[in-house]
Each structure stands twice: as structure tokens, then as C-alpha cells.
């Protein structure tokens, strides 16, 4: 019997699903080798189908996206029960990802911004989503929108993570192969190399031994040379802090690394580490000048915690006592 596999999406953009499709012809190999029992984006299975399966009957559940709503939380728990192995698939599931940046604001401001304040919203009565809503004697239900965004492992125990925004098809194919052959590493591992990106960067030899950055530039502000280390060109490349395994795709597209593969296993706080490394490369010893150089980095939280705010040791906003 072929091993059963489930895919599910939570708070995500759909890019991770795209990564599965991006397996291209390889997707057929995967389909041939496993039995996909649940994949809402592509196949017509329902939640009740999953509920009907015996506990532990799914070999592996790939869950992408962060956890923001009660429905996502319930599905995470359900899949945890049904699956032997749960894999956090992609940056949002692994560390909160882009949706996690919403933790800079509380729930009320998020809802107000989306349903009332944004210029494209037409909502004269200022209606906000309600968990329960009576219509013609029937009760309609919507999932509860939680106070905070959480990474998957802040909700259920997670066995492995595949990093990336989105992960590369290669990492997915390797993970599936490892599952099929039973050659999985120690539980808790991230299924990607444990070195930083500079290691596999095609521009690594052009990186000077002593960087002294005088000015940080954003990609649209400069003509980016295609063969020179981006950090050396003053672009905020987080490659030195970011796990390798992406095959330096952004760099190959002439764009600096934004850190979607997250930290190596030896680092507890991606943002703090990246920030301290970058700050130490500024080319000045004068405090005022250093501040001026660093001020060129727009939105420091968004730059250094772009994918990991919910798991940062220092929360952007303190979570309320009980959720």
C-alpha cells in the first residue's frame, strides 16, 4: 500500500501550493509513489473525510501557512492526530512568515484597517466579521480571528520543517524521497543545509574580507551589478544569516536575500543575529555616523524579522494573558 500524504494550507498566500505544482513532471512521480488523501487546493476532499480516517493513518501531513484563525488551529490539531509525521512547509508555517508581521498590531487595529480604514473598502455600516451571524433563522459561523499569528509549532508539535517562501521543489522532492525511504533525520530537524547562504552563493568570491558599508541602498535606488556580492554593493543581503538550500535563487535574479529560509540551527533569533552582523559591517566608528548609515535601512522590523516575527524571543506586541 502506498503511503498516504496530506497537504493543507493555513494563513498563506498560496505560493507554497504553487511549489508543489512546480515539481512539474516530478509531481507525477510523487503522485505515483504516494496516495494523496487530502489536498483542498487541488482535490475534492472534505474535512469530514479526514475526520473519518483512523488516527495515525496518514504517513505525512505537509502544512503550509501560519495559524491565525480557529479553523486553522482545529485543522492543525486534526492533522496532527491523523498523521504520523507533520511537516511545517514553508516560512509561514515554520516561523510565521509574512502574515506574522501582523503581530506588530493588535487584532482590533488589523480588523479596523482591513474592514474600515483602507481606501478601497466600501463598508458604510462598518460591519466586522462575526463568528456567529443569524440569517433567516439559521446561524452562520465564521472562524474566530485570533489576537496573534502563530507558527505551526506554537500550536502543535511539528516533526520537520521545510523552509522557504516558498520552498524550492527540490527540497520538497528530497523530503518526499526521504519519507519514502525512511531516511529522515532526527525529529525537529529543518530539511535543508545547516550553513548560511553565502556558502552556495555564486557571488561569494567577490565578497571582500573586510566590508565597510557606507550607505545602504534599496534595489530600486541603484544599478545592481550582476556579478558582485550584493552586500558589497550596499544592498541589504541577508544571505550571511540565512540558511542555504534555496540555490541562491534571489541572488541569481539579481535581488538580495531577504532571509526566507530562516536561521541555522545554531541561532535562536534570526532578526537579532542578522541585525548584529549587518550593523557590525558599517564603515564607521563614529556613533552618529553609524546611526546615519543604519537609518538607510527602511523598516528594520520588516527587514530583519520579515519571516520570523511570531517566533522572535522579544514579541512585537505582548500577547494577552489568555487567548
Amino acid at each position: 500500500m502506498k503511503p498516504k500524504v496530506a497537504f493543507y494550507w493555513c494563513a498563506s498566500c498560496g505560493g507554497c501550493e504553487e511549489a508543489v505544482v512546480d515539481l512539474a513532471e516530478k509531481v507525477l512521480d510523487v503522485v505515483a509513489a504516494v496516495d494523496i488523501v487530502f489536498w483542498p487546493v487541488a482535490l475534492d476532499f472534505k474535512r469530514k473525510d479526514v475526520e473519518a480516517m483512523p488516527d495515525g493513518s496518514i504517513a505525512a501531513a505537509f502544512i503550509n501557512g501560519a495559524i491565525r484563525t480557529s479553523e486553522q488551529e482545529e485543522m492543525a490539531h486534526l492533522l496532527r492526530r491523523k498523521a504520523q509525521v507533520v511537516i511545517a512547509f514553508g516560512a509561514c508555517a515554520q516561523t510565521g512568515g509574512i502574515p506574522g508581521l501582523a503581530n506588530l498590531y493588535d487584532r482590533e487595529s488589523v480588523l479596523a484597517a482591513v474592514y474600515r480604514e483602507s481606501p478601497s473598502t466600501a463598508n458604510a455600516e462598518g460591519v466586522l466579521p462575526q463568528p456567529h451571524y443569524p440569517v433567516n433563522g439559521e446561524a452562520l459561523e465564521l472562524p474566530v480571528f485570533h489576537e496573534r499569528v502563530r507558527a505551526l509549532n506554537q500550536v502543535i508539535p511539528v516533526d520537520y520543517s521545510i523552509p522557504g517562501c516558498p520552498p524550492t521543489p527540490k527540497l520538497l522532492a528530497d523530503a518526499v524521497a526521504a519519507l519514502l525511504t525512511g531516511r529522515l533525520p532526527e525529529r525537529g530537524a529543518v530539511l535543508a543545509p545547516d550553513k548560511a547562504l553565502c556558502e552556495e552563493c555564486p557571488r561569494r568570491d567577490s565578497k571582500p574580507e573586510k566590508l565597510a558599508i557606507q550607505q545602504f541602498k534599496r534595489p530600486h535606488e541603484t544599478l545592481i551589478e550582476t556579478d558582485k556580492c550584493l552586500l558589497a554593493q550596499g544592498l541589504l543581503c541577508l544571505g550571511p544569516a540565512t540558511r542555504a538550500g534555496c540555490e541562491a535563487r534571489c541572488i541569481q535574479g539579481n535581488m538580495p536575500c531577504t532571509g526566507c529560509f530562516g536561521a541555522t540551527s545554531r541561532v535562536r533569533d534570526f532578526g537579532a543575529k542578522a541585525l548584529s552582523a549587518i550593523a557590525s559591517l558599517t564603515g564607521s566608528n563614529d556613533e552618529a555616523e553609524i546611526v546615519q548609515i543604519l537609518e538607510n535601512i527602511p523598516d528594520p522590523v520588516g527587514s530583519f524579522y520579515r519571516y520570523s516575527l511570531p517566533v522572535a524571543p522579544l514579541p512585537a506586541k505582548r500577547a494577552p494573558a489568555a487567548e
Binding site: 553565502c198 566590508l211 544571505g239 550571511p240 536561521a263 545554531r266 541561532v267 543575529k273 552582523a277
Partner: protein, 655 residues
């Protein structure tokens, strides 16, 4: 790293009542006994005493301890004591950890909170020490040479002391000659020794001492390394005269196409003139001329007859193509003796310095009354007249919140000296305007009495204004005589401003280059004002003379001797033990991002291009932790500060 089966002994010190008076040591001991891995917990009156240390040693032997925690004072004080005790009992010293429950606790807290905090700190230490690993100290050989920066009396004395003791010394002086301020004086207080008579022999001794390499007209431009092994680069500015060939005959100066001296003479503070080719002053060491390219015709137009070269003849010492050179030296210790600068008197506008020609600074008057000065020692005004009345204003740029708050310590005394000398040379009436007369030194008060008996007038009060009196270039000093309680206006021919001492304008850059601290005023900071007055916070770098603060020549020389002794003691060890708290790269996971390479203040990190990884030379690493914090992929770790140790300590505190 695996968790060893730890057997921990905990020792709580009373420190007399220092700790036990505040912390409930019995309760702390009982608590310690309940912590995981703790085999014995004891408290004792003085853990650092011999019986206290004996407790530890006995327990190591009898209870098979393999970890020791001592809760006592600051590790700065006794970490070494307890580590040594462990070592003597056969336990690796780095398996011993100290908890500071005195400075961090009993001295700053009261009541039960102090005991609670002690428990937290102790728990943290117990949790961390489990992860401590045995480490070996490293031996670093000490280079047997010393760099002395600054060739004033401080630098000269330190250099000679070391050289006479057989150590190799490099003396680097910025100006074309050594001598510093003292070389400018005629006499020195309080004994009125002739400055040149006591200084010149020392200057020539520097030149002739085979153990001293003297580089004048030179400056240190970079310093790398650490105690025992500093690498220093020195820039030697071109003097356009080859030092080894010039014999100091001065025939070139005589022969220069400028028949008369025409350019402001720096050493005489512009009070006389020199030629483009010149000797800074007659007693200069080395006795080597130099050419000022700003004024020399050959440099300006390339069209000079070069009569100087002609005069130099076969000696061939003049070289218009001389270039600056950079020398690299390696030394075991460094003595900074860069001295002071005098306060810029024009900053106090109402004293009229720079406006009225008859207002002089004390330093200028030192030159005027110097036998080899611009007037051959005759004290005359700029118009050639002898002053009949002279006013000396004390504390100019000292003890004043608008300029410098500190007392410059020497101005009262040198003002008395100048009063005496002025009177002796000119017979003028001399008025000293002082705020307080500060004469605390051997023979100082006696000197004051002597000068008073000589008929110098002392007026206690701060001069509020200096303005032209009627005609003759005379100036009126307006002062509130606080002893008479009335405002007085005293006309004088000459005003002398007793300018204070202040840190040199480039003190901040110098201090940064040598990686030492300075006080808020800018004086170089000693490690301890009483017990380590010539040490700095950087091992192997010592201070001598006025760069550390205002002082007179006797104190300067005493301090220079002390700095030389400290340096000598260091060199004499021939090797120093380095703490093993070095950083190391996890080669297998380093991404070769190079972030760390440029950050090490001790240049311990290099990049191995073939392996594409960083490498730390543990002999150079001082364990500052900079690279550990900076490595963005967590690929550098540090002995004694391993992640497990730090996080366990943090968890222990927070538990």
C-alpha cells in the same frame, strides 16, 4: 558537548559581615544543598583564607567533586584564588565558577530580597557549571622591547630607565627634536635649576644609548596586537636631510639663499625667525637640521641655487627627494608619554591675548627669559623696551567652568618662578593675581615665601578685564582685590597669562589608536587612581607624565620611572599566561560569509580561501566575543561562554 555526571560542591562565603550581615547564609546553604548535582554545600567566614580554600581541596579529594561553585565577592578579586585552589587539588581550574553575592547583592540590597537574589544567582551558577569544560591556559612569549611614545621629560626618563636595564626601546617623538615642554624653560621651580643643564645630558644620553632607537619627526599610525606582542607602524616624516649623514655643522643654514631668517620659528612660538633649513633649537637632539618644504624655494619653484647643498658638500646630507617611510616594529609593552598642550589664551577675550601685543602667555615668557631664546634671555617687550611693571594672571583656563574646570597644578608655582625671574632680570614691579595660592609640594611653600620676601606683590582676586591704559602700550588690569574688598585698577607694561594644561588636541585619536580610555576631560585614564596609577585598562600599555593629568617635572619623572618599572616587570616575565576563553570557528558549518574577518580588534581572524571558511588564531584571540556575537549563522563559539553555559545560566536566573 554532552552533559557530564556532575558532582558539585557549593561554598558560601560570609566575608565577615559583608555578606553574612545581609544574606542569610545558612538558608542559602540549605537551599544550595537541594539543587541538582550538588553533593556538598558549606558556608564559611572567609572562603579566601587558607582554611576556606582547604575546605574545597578536602572535598574535592574526599567527595569526588568535579565542579565547584563559590558564592563570594567579585571574580575580579578572587576567581584566581579559587581556581588555583581547585587546581592544587587536581581539578581543572575552569570547572570552578564564582558567584558574586557581595558587590552584586549584599552591598546593594537589604532585607530578605538579598537572600532571595543570592539563591537566584547561585542556582544560575550551579546550572551553568554543569556545562563547564576543562580548559588549558596558553603561554604567550613577551617581546623584549618597549615603545615609548612622546619624547618629553616623561618619555626620555622612561626610555633611559628601561634602556639602562638592558631592554630595547623605541622612542617615537612627533617633533624634530625630543625635549618636550621642559626644553623650552630657562629655570625650573622650586629649586631654580637650569632646565637645559639637567635636561640636555638626558637628551644626549638617549641619542647615544645603544638600546634606544630614537625616531623623531615620527608618529605612530597603527597599533595591533596585545600585551606582549604589539605590532606598531610608525610614520617617519621626511626632513629632507639624511639623519645618518648630517653632522649638525649648520653650514647649510648659514649658506641658505635667505641671508636673514624670515619665517616664524615654531620652537620660539613665533617670537623669532628661522630659515627654511634650520635646527629646531641649539640643544636639539638629534643634532640634525631639517627643511621646511612650505618655505624652501627649491620645493616651491624648483629654481633655487641650492647653496645649502653646496655648503653641505661631500657630506651629501641634503636630499630633496626624501619620502616618508613607514617602519613596523614589534614590542611587548608601550608607554604613552604624549604630554599636554597649554590652554589657548585667546579663548578668554577680555584678557586681550592676540589683541594687545604686550599680553604674553607664560610659555612665551619662558622663551623670552631663556638664555638661548629669541632675545638671548633678555626680557623685553615686542618694541624692545624693558617692562617696568608686570602683571601675572594665574589660573588662565583653569578652575573655570567656562573653560577647564580642573586645577592645572603647576601654574601657581611657575607663576612664582616667572615672578622671581622677571624681577631678577628686569627689576620690574611684579604683581601676581591669584585666586588661591597652591603650593603643596616639597619646598614649594618655602619658595612662595622667598618670592614674597623679594617684594613681589600678591593680589588675591580674579582679573576681570585687561584694557589699554593711557598711551605707551600700557595695559590696565581691573581686579577685585578680595582681601582688601575693593576693585583695583593696576597699570602694567606687560601681562603674563599663566595658561593651564589641557589634553592634547589629538588625545582622542591617540587614545583610540592605543585602545585605552580617557577621563571626561580627555586625560588618559589610569587603571586605578591609587593602586594602579600608571597602568591602563589595556594590559601592556602604561602612562607617564602629563598625558595622564597635569603635574610638575618631579612627579612626571617619578611616574615615568614607575611606568618603566611596570613595563620592565612585564617583560621580565618573558611569557604571560592567557586565559583560555578563546573563540573558535565550527569549520564544518561556517558559510564563509566573512562577516567576522574584519571585526576582530586583535586581527586574530583570517579567511582560508581554499576551504572557504574563517579561521581564528587562538594565540591572538583575547576572548572579547565580538565575532561570536557577530557571526550571523552561529558558527563561532567561545570557550567559557558556550551557548549551553550562557543559556543555562539565564534559565537558572529566570527559573
Amino acid at each position: 558537548m554532552t552533559q557530564p555526571s556532575a558532582r558539585i560542591g557549593v561554598y558560601i562565603c560570609h566575608c565577615g559581615t559583608n555578606i553574612a550581615g545581609t544574606v542569610d547564609v545558612a538558608a542559602l546553604r540549605e537551599y544550595a544543598a537541594t539543587l541538582p548535582h550538588v553533593v556538598v554545600a558549606r558556608d564559611y567566614k572567609y572562603m579566601c583564607s587558607d582554611p576556606g580554600q582547604e575546605l574545597i581541596k578536602t572535598d574535592i579529594a574526599e567527595n569526588g567533586l568535579n565542579r565547584v561553585v563559590v558564592a563570594a565577592c567579585s571574580p575580579h578579586l578572587h576567581e584566581h584564588t579559587f581556581r588555583s585552589a581547585c587546581e592544587e587539588a587536581g581539578l581543572n581550574p575552569y570547572l570552578c565558577h564564582m558567584v558574586n553575592i557581595r558587590e552584586h547583592d549584599s552591598w546593594v540590597h537589604t532585607g530578605p530580597a538579598a537572600t532571595e537574589k543570592a539563591k537566584d544567582l547561585l542556582r544560575a551558577a550551579v546550572q551553568r557549571v554543569v556545562w563547564n569544560e576543562p580548559l588549558e591556559r596558553r603561554q604567550i612569549p613577551i617581546r623584549q622591547s618597549v615603545l615609548v611614545v612622546g619624547g618629553g621629560i616623561a618619555g626620555i626618563h622612561a626610555a633611559l630607565t628601561l634602556a639602562n636595564a638592558g631592554k630595547k626601546v623605541y622612542l617615537v617623538e612627533r617633533e624634530p627634536s625630543i625635549g618636550g615642554h621642559m626644553a623650552m624653560f630657562d629655570k625650573t621651580f622650586p629649586t631654580l635649576d637650569c632646565a637645559a643643564c639637567i635636561l640636555t645630558p638626558k637628551m644626549t644620553a638617549v641619542k647615544s644609548n645603544p638600546n634606544i632607537t630614537l625616531w623623531t619627526y615620527s608618529e605612530v599610525i597603527s597599533v595591533e596586537g596585545y600585551v606582549g606582542d604589539f605590532r606598531v607602524q610608525v610614520r617617519r616624516k621626511p626632513r629632507y636631510v639624511i639623519e645618518d649623514l648630517c653632522v649638525g655643522c649648520l653650514e647649510c643654514v648659514e649658506a641658505c639663499v635667505y641671508k636673514q631668517p624670515k619665517f616664524a620659528d615654531e620652537f620660539n612660538l613665533g617670537l623669532s625667525k628661522r630659515k627654511p633649513i634650520y635646527l629646531p633649537f641649539p640643544q636639539a637632539v638629534p643634532q640634525v637640521v631639517l627643511i621646511d618644504p612650505e618655505t624652501c624655494i627649491e620645493f616651491k619653484s624648483g629654481k633655487c641655487k641650492k647653496t645649502c647643498v653646496e655648503a653641505c658638500g661631500e657630506r651629501n646630507a641634503i636630499d630633496f627627494n626624501q619620502k616618508e617611510t613607514i617602519e613596523t616594529i614589534e614590542v611587548g609593552a608601550i608607554i604613552l608619554a604624549t604630554g599636554y598642550q597649554t590652554f589657548d589664551a585667546s579663548r578668554i577675550s577680555y584678557y586681550g591675548y592676540g589683541t594687545y601685543p604686550n599680553v604674553y602667555t607664560a610659555l612665551e615668557v619662558e622663551r623670552l627669559i631663556n638664555a638661548s631664546g629669541p632675545t638671548g634671555g633678555e626680557l623685553v617687550l615686542r618694541d624692545g623696551r624693558k617692562p617696568r611693571t608686570v602683571g601675572i594672571i594665574h589660573c588662565v583656563g583653569s578652575r573655570d567652568e567656562h573653560t577647564n574646570r580642573w586645577c592645572s597644578r603647576v601654574c601657581c608655582m611657575y607663576s612664582l618662578k616667572l615672578a622671581h625671574l622677571v624681577k631678577e632680570r628686569t627689576g620690574a614691579e611684579v604683581y601676581n593675581f591669584y585666586i588661591d595660592m597652591r603650593t603643596p609640594g616639597k619646598g614649594f611653600e618655602e619658595f612662595y615665601n622667598r618670592v614674597a620676601e623679594e617684594g613681589v606683590h600678591f593680589i588675591r582676586g580674579k582679573v576681570a578685564d585687561v584694557y589699554p591704559a593711557n598711551g605707551d602700550g600700557q595695559l590696565t588690569l581691573k581686579v577685585e582685590d578680595t582681601l582688601l574688598g575693593q576693585v583695583r585698577k593696576i597699570p602694567v607694561d606687560m601681562v603674563i597669562l599663566a595658561v593651564g594644561l589641557e589634553p592634547r588636541a589629538d588625545a582622542t585619536e591617540v587614545r583610540r589608536m592605543f585602545n585605552i580610555s580617557c577621563s571626561s576631560e580627555g586625560w588618559f585614564l589610569e587603571r586605578h587612581p591609587k593602586l594602579a596609577p600608571v597602568n591602563t585598562f589595556t594590559d601592556g600599555i602604561f602612562l607617564a607624565g602629563c598625558c595622564q593629568g597635569p603635574k610638575d617635572i618631579p612627579d612626571t619623572v617619578a611616574q615615568a620611572g614607575a611606568a618603566a618599572a611596570e613595563a620592565f616587570q612585564l617583560l621580565d616575565l618573558s611569557a604571560i599566561e592567557m586565559e583560555p576563553n578563546t573563540a573558535y570557528v565550527l569549520e564544518g558549518v561556517c558559510s564563509g560569509c566573512k562577516t567576522c574577518v574584519g571585526l576582530c580588534p586583535y586581527n586574530a581572524i583570517s579567511f582560508l580561501a581554499d576551504k572557504h571558511v574563517a579561521h581564528i588564531n587562538e594565540a591572538l584571540c583575547k576572548g572579547c566575543g565580538t565575532c561570536v556575537a557577530a557571526c550571523p549563522s552561529g558558527s563561532i563559539r567561545q570557550h567559557l561562554f558556550e551557548d549551553e553555559q550562557i543559556f543555562e545560566e539565564v534559565h537558572g536566573i529566570m527559573a
